[in-house]
C-alpha cells in the first residue's frame, strides 16, 4: 500500500480541497502527493498558526481544509487552536508527524513528543495515533468524524507508520 497516495485519496474523497503544510522529513511524500493533485489547492505556510488561519478562512469560504504539520507545531498553535478553531467551532483535520517516538534518530524530537498527547488531551482534541501501516484504514472515518463534529482532530503518525528511517 502507498500510504501517501491513500491519504491524498481519502482527502479528495472527503471533499477536502484546501491543504496547507509545513514540512517534516516524514511528511515529504504525502506533501508531494498533495502538491501534485489537481483537485487539491496546496498552499505552503511559514508557520503552523498562520496555516490554521488560512484553513479557518478557507472553511468559511466553503472549502474543506486540512493541515499537515509536525508535532512540534502543537507548541506553536495552542493559542490558535483554543481561540480560533475551537472558539468559533471549526473543523480541522491535522495530519501530524509524530516525531520523537519509536525509531526516532534525533534526540531533541523526544522533548516535544513527551508533551504531545498531554497537550492534545488538555485541549480536549480527539487524537488518533497511527503506528502500523494498516492504521491508515481509519483515516477516512476520522475525516468524516471531523466534519461531523466541527472540531480540530489530531492524527499522529509515527516513524513506524511511515516505515522508519531506512537504514536505522
Amino acid at each position: 500500500m502507498n500510504i501517501d497516495k491513500k491519504i491524498a485519496d481519502d482527502l479528495v474523497a472527503n471533499d477536502i480541497r484546501f491543504v496547507t503544510t509545513v514540512p517534516c522529513k516524514q511528511l515529504a511524500g504525502v506533501i508531494e502527493e498533495v502538491d501534485q493533485r489537481d483537485d487539491i489547492f496546496h498552499i505552503p505556510s511559514n508557520k503552523e498558526d498562520e496555516g490554521m488561519g488560512l484553513c479557518a478562512g478557507a472553511w468559511m469560504g466553503g472549502k474543506r481544509p486540512a493541515i499537515i504539520m509536525q508535532n512540534t507545531a502543537i507548541g506553536v498553535t495552542i493559542n490558535t487552536l483554543a481561540t480560533l478553531i475551537q472558539y468559533y467551532r471549526m473543523p480541522l483535520p491535522m495530519i501530524i508527524s509524530y516525531r520523537g517516538e519509536l525509531r526516532e534518530p534525533v534526540a531533541c524530537q523526544v522533548e516535544m513528543a513527551v508533551h504531545t498527547k498531554a497537550l492534545l488531551a488538555q485541549l480536549n482534541i480527539p487524537t488518533y495515533h497511527f503506528h502500523w501501516q494498516r492504521d491508515v484504514e481509519e483515516f477516512d472515518n476520522i475525516l468524516k468524524y471531523t466534519f461531523m463534529c466541527n472540531k480540530p482532530v489530531a492524527i499522529l503518525t509515527d516513524a513506524n507508520f511511515w516505515g522508519g528511517y531506512g537504514d536505522q
Binding site: M52, G57, G61, K63, T83
Partner: protein, 184 residues
C-alpha cells in the same frame, strides 16, 4: 486621524463587502460603527486576520477586505510571503499602521521607528503595495476594489482608540452569520 475615524469614513465602502477585522479595539470599533453580517470579528488570536482573509479569498470569488494592524502583521510576518506568492485578485489587506499596539494601551511598535511595512511587503513578493495617509483611505480602498488586483494598503494614521463596548456576540454566532453572508 485615529483608527475609529478612518473606520467611520470607510464604513459605507465596507458595508456590503466581506471584512475580516483585527482583534481587540479595531473589531469593537467596527462593530459599534456599522455591525454587518459580512463582518468577521476576531475576538482573539492576534496576528491571523491576514491569513484568515487570504484563505477566504482563495476559497470563493467575492472581494475580501482585511482590516489588520501593524502590531498584528509584525507578529505574523510569515504572512507576507504567503500573500505575495498566493494572493488572488479579490484580496485586499489594509494595514492600519498607527505605529502602536492600540488595543493594549498604545505601546509603540517598530513601524513607528525604523521598520517599513510597505517595504517588507514588497520584498516579500507583494506586487501591489500602496502607502496611504489616513485622510485618503476611502479613495485608495475604492480604487483597490475597482482595480481588482491583490493589494496591500499601509494606512499611516495616529495612535489612539475610541471607547466602544466589547463584543458580546457569541463567536459561533459571528461565524455562522458570516458564513451565511459569504454563501448568500
Amino acid at each position: 486621524m485615529i483608527r475609529s475615524e478612518i473606520l467611520k469614513d470607510i464604513a459605507p465602502i465596507l458595508r456590503d463587502k466581506l471584512v475580516v477585522c483585527n482583534i481587540g479595539i479595531p473589531s469593537q470599533e467596527l462593530h459599534a460603527i456599522d455591525d454587518q453580517p459580512t463582518n468577521f470579528y476576531m475576538l482573539g488570536t492576534m496576528g491571523l486576520a491576514s491569513s484568515i482573509g487570504l484563505g477566504l479569498a482563495l476559497a470563493q470569488p467575492k472581494p475580501v477586505i482585511v482590516i489588520d494592524g501593524d502590531g498584528s502583521v509584525l507578529t505574523n510576518l510569515g504572512t507576507l510571503p504567503t500573500i505575495g506568492n498566493n494572493a488572488p485578485s479579490n484580496y485586499i489587506l489594509m494595514i492600519i499602521d498607527n505605529g502602536s499596539y492600540g488595543s493594549t494601551g498604545d505601546q509603540p511598535t517598530y513601524t513607528g521607528m525604523k521598520t517599513d511595512l510597505a517595504g517588507m511587503a514588497r520584498a516579500a513578493g507583494c506586487d501591489n503595495v500602496v502607502e496611504v495617509q489616513d485622510v485618503d483611505t476611502g479613495e485608495a480602498l475604492q480604487k483597490a476594489i475597482e482595480d481588482g488586483v491583490a493589494t496591500v494598503m499601509v494606512v499611516k494614521c495616529d495612535s489612539g482608540n475610541a471607547k466602544m463596548p466589547v463584543i458580546s456576540m457569541d463567536p459561533v454566532v459571528i461565524r455562522d452569520r458570516f458564513m451565511k453572508a459569504v454563501a448568500g
